[in-house]
């Protein structure tokens, strides 16, 4: 995992000092709120419905036990004993006081963490596949490139006042778990026939009120050109992205309005001019960063058959193994998903005690490595299969052993009306009620893979557009109303869900979801045909009919 050197340490503490000074000048009135806002946002400080919110970066979702313990400490000391893991592999604290934030940042700096660029109109925390360096299908670990991008984009002098936020995601596997096609820049790392590393580059994806799947602008960008190409994209965007309407300011709108071919030509022209310059990535820099991410030494005898024996004797463990283990590249190893979606709880929340418990398990069994997934779960990427029963016991004790990864109750939901000033409807309670409705183990497993995603307003923080079932909360005549979309997907076959028909009230929306699920069960060809596959096969007619009758 990446470790700070002296430079990074100095950098982060200088940044804490800088922000501390900005807070002081704000409180002294030298900065008005409008002037202060972008500065605090660049440091992850939001003003929410009830309080300030602090969003802490977990670059490409990778952290160690000591860092997780520090997050637990912050939750306990400065917040209400919990934190909220987000879809962008960050953690949010919902209740810190502005005057405590510099102290929190100092605490975080002691474990090489910060809140830089977790918000604001700048290049945000770069995200990556949560099974990086572990997944059996991976071609190469995307995190060294995410780290290189993170460094290059940190306090970038030219790109700190972009038209709007800018999100980059990188994956190194053919199965895209990082949703790269709904990012401003999506990078899919691969190797050519000679083994050289390069990237397929996508530009202009995004959700929000105008969801768009990104367009491919390069099939194979050589790795040495990564930064120059990104800089070219950013410069074109900074100069020509719309600034007259914040809802039309993302690069996706520029791509849409300019046309991808014209924009690509602009990017290529800019790139041609700088590609041989200072930004060309030297191989030794790539190697230096890659070394930090070397896989831990794997045991040859990590699977002694004990997991199979224990699973045979314990159906709960067997269910956990079936759902929450992901195939690992090293024999005898697996990646464990720790679901932050216990039945009936707020998706993505973890208490300080749970964070400590996960830290302890990672230190004891997981090479001291933890990941945050964009599905708001945690992952122990490298564990010996023989240790899974003990990990399962540890998770049970912490209330984190729900065997529902990828199932109907593994719901993504944004904070919604409970916390967010922009919300038009509640989203967490809807998630909780759906979770309770389908919560029995047999029922969930019978339904199989199904991604439900819920947003409390059109900004789409809950990714509802790419949910197999998406739910968008809106307000209609003073009441919450929920619009349902079907068929969205955020992987290598990304698609935007289609609105199925008129919306449902808060009371009725869970019934509607149940109707959809039952309809799917009735029409699937085999239990292996999951919801999305069935929907793509039959289209929306049977679902419409089930919901609204034949009108």
């Amino acid at each position: 995992m990446y470790r700070y050197d002296e430079f990074d340490t100095d950098f982060v503490s200088a940044r804490v000092e800088q922000f501390t000074d900005q807070v002081r000048r704000r409180l002294a009135g030298d900065l008005d709120e409008e002037q202060f806002k972008p500065l605090r946002l660049m440091n992850g400080v939001y003003l929410q419905l009830h309080a300030y919110m602090l969003r802490v970066a977990i670059p490409y979702g990778t952290l160690n036990g000591a860092q997780m313990r520090k997050l637990a400490y912050v939750a306990r000391t400065y917040d209400r004993g919990y934190g909220h893991f987000t879809t962008r592999q960050n953690i949010q604290f919902n209740w810190p006081r502005l005057k405590d934030i510099p102290a929190i940042l100092e605490e975080l700096a002691t474990v090489e963490m910060h809140a830089i660029q977790t918000s604001g109109n700048c290049i945000r925390n770069v995200t990556a596949d949560h099974f990086s360096a572990a997944a059996a299908d991976e071609i190469l670990d995307p995190r060294p490139y995410a780290e290189i991008l993170r460094q290059w984009s940190s306090l970038h002098p030219e790109f700190s006042f972009l038209p709007r936020k800018f999100k980059i995601a990188v994956t190194g596997a053919p199965h895209d778990r990082a949703a790269v096609q709904v990012h401003d820049i999506g990078l899919q790392a691969k190797r050519d026939a000679d083994g050289n590393v390069g990237f397929t580059v996508f530009v202009g994806g995004g959700l929000g009120r105008t969801p768009m799947i990104a367009r491919k602008v390069r099939d194979f960008l050589p790795e040495e050109d990564l930064l120059a190409y990104c800089e070219a994209i950013l410069r074109v965007y900074n100069r020509y992205g719309r600034r007259d309407n914040k809802y039309k300011a993302r690069i996706k709108i520029l791509v849409h309005e300019t046309g991808v071919e014209t924009l690509k030509a602009d990017i290529e022209r800019e790139f041609e001019e700088i590609r041989h310059g200072v930004l060309r990535l030297p191989q030794d820099e790539i190697d230096r960063i890659t070394d930090y991410f070397a896989a831990p030494p794997f045991d040859a005898d990590a699977d002694d058959g004990s997991l199979d024996r224990a699973s045979a004797a314990d159906p709960a463990l067997a269910a956990f193994v079936e759902r929450n283990l992901h195939a690992h590249k090293a024999p005898g190893y697996a990646s464990v998903t720790i679901s932050l979606k216990p039945i009936g709880k707020a998706p993505g929340d973890a208490t300080a005690d749970q964070m400590d418990a996960v830290a302890a398990l990672a230190e004891r069994y997981g090479h001291d490595e933890i990941r945050v997934s964009h599905e708001q779960n945690l992952v122990l990427p490298h564990v010996r299969k023989a240790d899974v029963p003990a990990i399962f016991e540890g998770l049970k004790a912490a209330g984190l052993a729900e065997a529902n990864a990828g199932l109907v109750t593994d719901i993504i939901a944004c904070p919604g009306m409970d916390f967010c000033a922009l919300a038009t409807a509640r989203s967490i309670p809807v998630a909780q009620r759906i979770s309770e409705r389908f919560g029995t183990p047999e029922r969930q497993r019978d339904i199989g893979d199904l991604k439900i995603k819920i947003s409390g307003c059109i900004n789409a923080c809950g990714h509802h557009h790419v949910g197999h079932i998406g739910i968008l909360g809106v307000e209609k005549k003073g009441e919450e109303y929920y619009q349902i979309t079907l068929g969205g997907s955020g992987d290598e076959n990304s698609s935007i869900g289609e609105i199925i028909g008129r919306g449902f009230s808060y009371d009725d929306v869970v019934d509607a979801v149940e109707t959809l699920v039952d309809t799917y069960i009735g029409l699937r060809e085999t239990p292996q045909e999951d919801f999305l596959a069935a929907y793509r096969r039959v289209g929306d007619a049977p679902f419409k009919e089930a919901l609204y009758g034949t009108a």
Partner: protein
């Protein structure tokens, strides 16, 4: 009125005067003109009158290419501090066009943005915001003096062996 021009670590007198689209061109002196007016006047202005140009956020710096070798000063307007186009304008002037005269940030120029502007090539700043002025006069430095992008300005020093880690030039520009 006290000097507004901050340059080389202090406030200094300014010989240049901003003119709008309708102001009369004087016979002599030094004036900063909006881009269109500059392009219109540059061939006909008397030799006794020095011309500089003001680029607004949407202006294309390429339009100045034929005139750069004779320009002493280019001003870049930040009508709103949150509009970051001027940073790219500066970068293009310095890097694409090799401009090495005075590059001056004008408009909504605030303390926290000055370090970023410097790294994009600005060398002078017109300051109207009173708290910014006070802070600059007091020598209040708000910069993170460590950079993670390749050197932009002459004088930035490598910080250790990392490819792009940099520290500021030994003395402020």
């Amino acid at each position: 009125m006290a000097a507004q021009l901050y340059k080389d670590g202090g406030f200094v007198a300014d010989d240049w005067r901003h003119l709008g689209d309708d102001d009369l061109l004087p016979e002599a002196g030094a004036v900063i003109l909006p881009l269109a007016r500059f392009l219109e006047s540059v061939a006909t202005a008397p030799a006794s009158l020095k011309l500089a140009v003001l680029l607004r956020a949407a202006d294309d710096p390429d339009a100045l290419a034929p005139h750069l070798s004779r320009l002493e000063l280019i001003a870049v307007d930040f009508a709103k501090f949150s509009d970051g186009r001027g940073y790219s304008t500066a970068r293009l002037l310095c890097r694409r066009h090799g401009f090495d005269g005075e590059l001056r940030a004008v408009g909504d120029v605030l303390l926290d943005q000055i370090p970023l502007m410097r790294r994009c090539g600005f060398t002078a700043f017109e300051i109207v915001h009173a708290p910014t002025r006070r802070a600059l006069e007091a020598g209040h430095n708000v910069e993170v003096p460590l950079y993670l992008q390749p050197a932009e300005r002459a004088g930035e020093r490598p910080a250790g062996a990392r490819a792009w880690a940099r520290r500021p030039a030994a003395s402020p520009v």
